[in-house]
């Protein structure tokens, strides 16, 4: 991990989603990733489905997997806390391959997430650990290569995998 965490250009993330073959992004809008959401608004090959809650987003993603449509879930850390039961039920019990991009809004980019003073950032990784969910930290353009293997891991292992976006996307 190289600190401070740096912004990843939205185009770079979009390119990675395309490389994964993602056809849908299922989102509860995340301020941290708003430049990516704005970019997605203008593309035709990936459709964004806006949900009211993260619970819904996980269920939509599972339904899409059942129907054979590759998708990514985009939420914020607060949403991760909000959807713990659905994440458990859909991701762990039903073993849905949920690929999640989770924004660490408000992070002090000079510190690792676990050493941040704010609980929303500090507890995200420990919560995922508690649930036994694999996670990867994208702390700058040099980490973007983690995204595609994380997506493939989710799909092939039929399990939830989280990619934490360490700094607001550019």
């Amino acid at each position: 991990m190289t600190l401070p965490a740096r912004s990843v250009p939205a185009q770079m993330l979009l390119d990675k989603l395309r490389r994964c073959g993602v056809r849908f992004v299922v989102s509860v809008p995340d301020t941290h990733q708003k430049s990516l959401l704005a970019l997605l608004d203008g593309v035709r090959d990936i459709r964004t489905i806006t949900c009211c809650t993260e619970d819904e987003a996980l269920c939509v993603a599972m339904g899409m997997w059942i129907g054979g449509a590759p998708c990514a879930v985009m939420i914020q850390h607060a949403g991760l806390y909000a959807c713990v039961n659905h994440l458990r039920g859909v991701g762990l019990d039903l073993k849905a391959p949920l690929f999640m991009l989770i924004g660490l809004l408000g992070r002090d980019v000079d510190k690792p997430p676990r050493e941040n003073s704010g609980s929303m950032v500090r507890l995200a990784e420990p919560l995922l650990d508690t649930l036994g969910i694999r996670h990867y930290l994208v702390d700058g353009p040099e980490d973007v290569h983690l995204i595609e293997p994380a997506y493939r891991e989710s799909l092939s292992g039929e399990l939830p995998v989280a990619v934490l976006i360490g700094a607001a996307t550019a």
Binding site: F24, V26, R47, I49, T50, C51, I66, G68, G89, L94
Partner: protein
């Protein structure tokens, strides 16, 4: 007074065709008994998830009709899902709501505003293409084929009696994880 749950389910089973059907809570067992199929999916363990599970399948497979058999308590738990569904506007989506006014599983405590709540109005307000309410099984059977021919999203509220048939389906057991794989294989032809 409403109709028996079994009567409503039999009518839906008769017209399901090749639809994917997502059931939840009290309709799970009778539905599986009345309409066994590799296209049945169950929402268990994450209450309120049936509607958006169905939405995901409907969006992934616009060539396939999707029906959700929801409960009133369940829908209230994720009420925002009707806005999400309306926003995504799946034409192949029919949302059946079994309304008995109570949380039956936990001992029939009344749902909030059980005497006044109007789900059809809420669905229309959220932007569903159409919404219907039935409390009579005969009329429901008569109108169902026409409703299923309409583009969705459509909400069909079914007023259900609390006293229900106690029959053989009490012993039915389903494994939602296995079912999800079965439905996926059936849809993907794998």
């Amino acid at each position: 007074m409403g109709m028996a749950r079994g009567e409503a389910l039999r009518a839906i089973a008769q017209h399901r065709g090749e639809s994917v059907v997502i059931s939840t809570m009290q309709v799970v067992q009778p539905w599986h008994a009345l309409s066994p199929s590799p296209l049945n999916m169950t929402c268990i363990g994450f209450m309120g998830g049936a509607s958006t599970l169905g939405l995901g399948i409907a969006l992934a497979r616009p060539d396939r009709r999707v029906a959700v058999l929801d409960g009133d308590g369940s829908l209230l738990m994720q009420l925002g899902s009707i806005a999400t569904i309306s926003g995504a506007a799946p034409a192949n989506f029919h949302h059946f709501l079994f309304q008995n006014g109570v949380y039956e599983t936990s001992g029939s405590q009344p749902i909030a505003a059980s005497e006044r709540i109007d789900f059809a109005q809420m669905a229309l307000g959220a932007g569903y293409r159409a919404a219907y309410t039935f409390d009579d099984a005969g009329r429901f059977r008569e109108e169902l084929p026409g409703i299923l021919d309409e583009d969705g999203p459509v909400l069909i509220v079914l007023k259900i009696d609390l006293v229900d048939e106690q029959v053989e389906w009490d012993a039915m057991r389903v494994d939602a994880r296995d079912e999800s794989r079965t439905v996926r294989r059936a849809l993907l032809g794998a």
